[in-house]
Amino acid sequence: MSCRRWERMMALYIGGELSPRRERRAERHLQSCSTCRTFIRDLEDMRNALYSLRGEPVDHHVLEGIRRSVLAEIATRESLQTSARGLGILRRWSWPAGLAGIMLVVIAATLVVFQWSRREASESPGVQDIGASSHSPALLDEPGRLTRALPAGKKPAQAPNARIARRRRASGRFRTGPAHAKRPPLKIPDSESITVEPPSGSDQLVVKLVTEDPDIVIYWLVDQEGE
């Protein structure tokens, strides 16, 4: 019998890998075959040498390099995950945030339109009156007392009141709204109380209105065009 046939069985015999029946068979053969006994001894030496490979030295620089790479990769992945998480939050909140923005814009636009229409409604008759008066050549071309442009004894009834209300709102000194709306219109005592004075070096006229209330003196600017 050629020992070559036994080699693979002997290769398992050294590690105790054979079944009891095959192991007994192998042992019987080993008792009569010196070649296989030598083969077994060499295999054992080789196996011990292989086992010693476990302790072979490893360059610590190599291990440090691996560790650094792993930790750097982890740091990169962590930062990417954080960014992705942030993007996820943004993505989750983008629709509500967009809707809220649109609603804010709509509300702001509505308020502006409402204020504008209210202002137009309150100004329209007075402005026309004032406009008619201020476009008077006597008023614009000849600075001095307004009584020249106004008929004697006639009060500039509603127009200045509208201006007064606007100036009050602009100055912020008085509240606007329902309470103000309920207040009685200011009475202008007579035409003598309105003066028109040109400021020095300016194209504008300053209109001074003295009301019955001594605490309220109203100024407003009128340019050469009467605006």
């Binding site: 196996r47 040498a49 490979l53 476990r54 691996i66």
Partner: protein, 205 residues
Amino acid sequence: MRAEPAEMILAMAGRQPQEEPSSTTAHLIAQAKAGDTHAFETLMIRHERRIYRLALRLLGHREDAQDATQEVFLRLYKHLSRLDEKRELVPWLYRVTVNVCHDLVRRRRRNMTVSLDDVDADALVDSMKTEWGAEFAEQRRILAEGLKTLSENERAVIVLRDIEGLSTEDVARLLGSSASTVRSHLSRARVKLKRFVDRVREGQS
């Protein structure tokens, strides 16, 4: 000398060794799970040498072994939340190492022959000479070269069984095959390796 593999075999069978060497490892895993990078680094320091050697033996190429080791620890980090800290970490690391090396071999199959020849064997021998002397260093160099002549399965089986000292059943579990298949690969691998060593020695003499 064989205490370490015995511990591993116990662990792979799902039992805890008496001295519970992994109690600190469990603590480190728990800390790493909580986001402690230093704990994870300590885990790496503890196991990197063993994993790198295993990868080097399975792949036969230093750079591939570095890539594989890196990938193993990245997978460890990724799977930290799913790891049971009560179980041993080493069997899990071995299984992942074997899988990663298998993937690498498959991916680089075309370059495998070239890369195996590229192993810096002289540098390895030099480092061995300083530690164990020239004769042992030469013997190990021949074995390292001989391992490269084996097929992937044969190499995996002999590395895990004869170098790492795992049982045949554990090797079968790691490789996802039967014990009889492992024995078949093992007997063929041992015989091939012995023939290679004999040829080299005959050539030298």
